[in-house]
Amino acid sequence: MNRKITAITGVISMMLVMVACKKEIMEQAGAVFPGFQRPANFPEPAYHFATNEVTQAGFELGRRLFYEPRLSRDNTVSCGSCHIQSSSFTHHGHDVSHGIDDRLGKRNSPPIMNLAWNTSFMWDGGVFDLDLQPVAPITAHDEMDESVDNVLQKLRAHPDYPGLFRKAFGSEEINTANFMRALSQFMVMCISSNSKYDSVMNNSGPAFTAAEASGYKVYRDKCSSCHTEPLFTDHSFRNNGIGIGYNNDSGRYAVTLNTDDLYKFKVPSLRNLKYTAPYMHDGRYYTLDAVLDQYSLHMKPMENLDPVLRQGGATGIPLTTQERADLIAFLNTLNDPVFVTNPMLAEQ
């Protein structure tokens, strides 16, 4: 009797194990890693995938590193500290970011978004390769105040990282190149292409409302020469007439030492504006209304003001009340709730 029960229990538990196994296999099969995929309405990326192909293990290592506070001197600040997913990977509510020891930086944290199409990085374009970008925040006194050398040593001493590097790159050796490549693999996967605008362009969702459609026309007439579709930036550096900031940040000039570049900053994308306030390189405008006031009413006719903002003897972009309301309706179609909640990009 007892033996029979034992036998039956054994069979049942074996069946249970089999079911569990099957479920696990199915789950794995269901979550196939997509790799880097260019959205249908996006151009060819600028990033050099030939030297750094995105793999699941590389991406997952990069994600772990992105959220790893060991990248900072006292292990308190990670990339994700100032690049928060729910804020489209910016530092919500901070005009300029605070890093280690609550030291304040001098610029507004830019979004980690569609970087595979960026031709340069930082507000002044000082970094020309995404693989070299992390050196800047890691070594900056106000941000992580650490050396890459020291970060690599911390990772080598960690129980998980040698194995994760082996999975990603075939070797437990943790060096600068593989560390940077993993971070790039995570960052290029931070693609925002699921806004209403994108679904309209791809004919895969509801059409623009009347206000959005009018706003799209206003945008095309008055904004698109710099905020070019579909990334909503032309990656250029321009002086948009907001006036010299309190810290006299000279912008692009610091990189080129060319006086024509004084007070020029990179044109930011208009995607995900709902999540990325405050605006401008120093976060001086807290609302979209303040930004549009600036462009329509308060343009400063300073030296190097971009020619498109100085036309017919006047400066700025005139907007009627109606145009402004429509424009805001259109700009809101560029928000991508999928991007800011995508669990694949979140800290695990």
Partner: protein, 272 residues
């Protein structure tokens, strides 16, 4: 018999002479058959050896100063024979960091075809091509992983620091920590997407006066250069520490870079 002995001796002497002559002869140039050559960078200040921290020097502006850190990149080494044949050391083996006070970083060790070399050319800094290469090509001294203190790479403005010299001088204003420190971090490869300053400097030195480099297998040839650091502040241009206590990525950096092209002098060559 006597005659025969004399004759043999003469032949023997001739034979020795011939073989001696043969030894001194330059071997045939073969780019696939390499021998070691070192180029030693011996940092001095005027007529004295350079000592970090402990010695005080005076520049042309009359300011006294001491040096706490001195590092610079030497790259793209080329050697030329008297007949014009030139050997370019393969780029992957042609980047060296010279660090004062560290014996392991005091010379550039390269391999070149056996031969007699009359002219040496090298770059102070890192060429623009390597400055823009993929991260996988940035290994060894080019690894951009150094810290703020002794690192030779700018993270915020992608590029190598070619020459880094720091020290103390009463002429320098007190910094927030109270130190009277001067800091010269010189770089700039010309810009990636927009042109900017280019401080890449090429130095060519004639070796014939102080001794050509006779590179042979199984021997060590060492080109001994004296590098007069005094020239950084007291070259063609007189640089005042008081007026320029900190020079990094700026137009004035080109003045210092022009000055430091004058600091290299061939002193002698050891052909052992």
């Amino acid at each position: 018999m006597k005659y025969s002995f004399r004759y043999t001796s003469l032949l023997f002497l001739l034979f020795i002479a011939a073989s001696c002559k043969k030894e001194k002869q330059e071997p045939a140039y073969n780019e696939k058959d390499l021998a070691p050559l070192s180029i030693e960078f011996d940092n001095i200040v005027g007529g004295k050896n350079l000592y970090l921290n402990t010695e005080t020097y005076t520049n042309a502006a009359g300011e006294s100063y001491s040096i706490s850190l001195l590092q610079y990149f030497i790259s793209n080494i080329r050697l030329k024979k008297a007949d014009g044949t030139e050997y370019i050391v393969p780029q992957d083996s042609s980047y060296f960091l010279i660090k004062e006070g560290n014996k392991d970083f005091s010379e550039a060790l390269v391999n070149v075809p056996e031969g007699d070399y009359a002219m040496l050319t090298f770059t102070v800094g890192v060429d623009s091509l390597r400055s823009t290469m993929d991260i996988s090509k940035r290994t060894g001294v080019l690894d951009p992983s150094g810290g703020m203190d002794d690192g030779m790479y700018w993270g915020w403005n992608s590029g190598y620091i070619f020459f880094k010299m720091e020290g103390l001088s009463d002429a320098a204003p007190a910094d927030p920590s109270g130190q009277h420190k001067f800091r010269y971090h010189i770089g700039g490869f010309g810009g990636y997407s927009a042109p900017t300053i280019n401080n890449i400097k090429t130095i060519t030195l004639d070796l014939t006066k102080a001794g050509i480099a006779q590179v042979r297998k199984g021997r060590k040839s060492n080109i001994h250069l004296m590098v007069d650091i005094d020239k950084v502040l007291s070259g063609t241009a007189t640089v005042s520490i008081a007026a320029n206590p900190t020079v990094m990525f700026s137009d004035f950096s080109t003045v210092i870079a022009d000055n430091y092209t004058q600091m290299f002098r061939h002193d002698h060559t050891e052909n052992e």
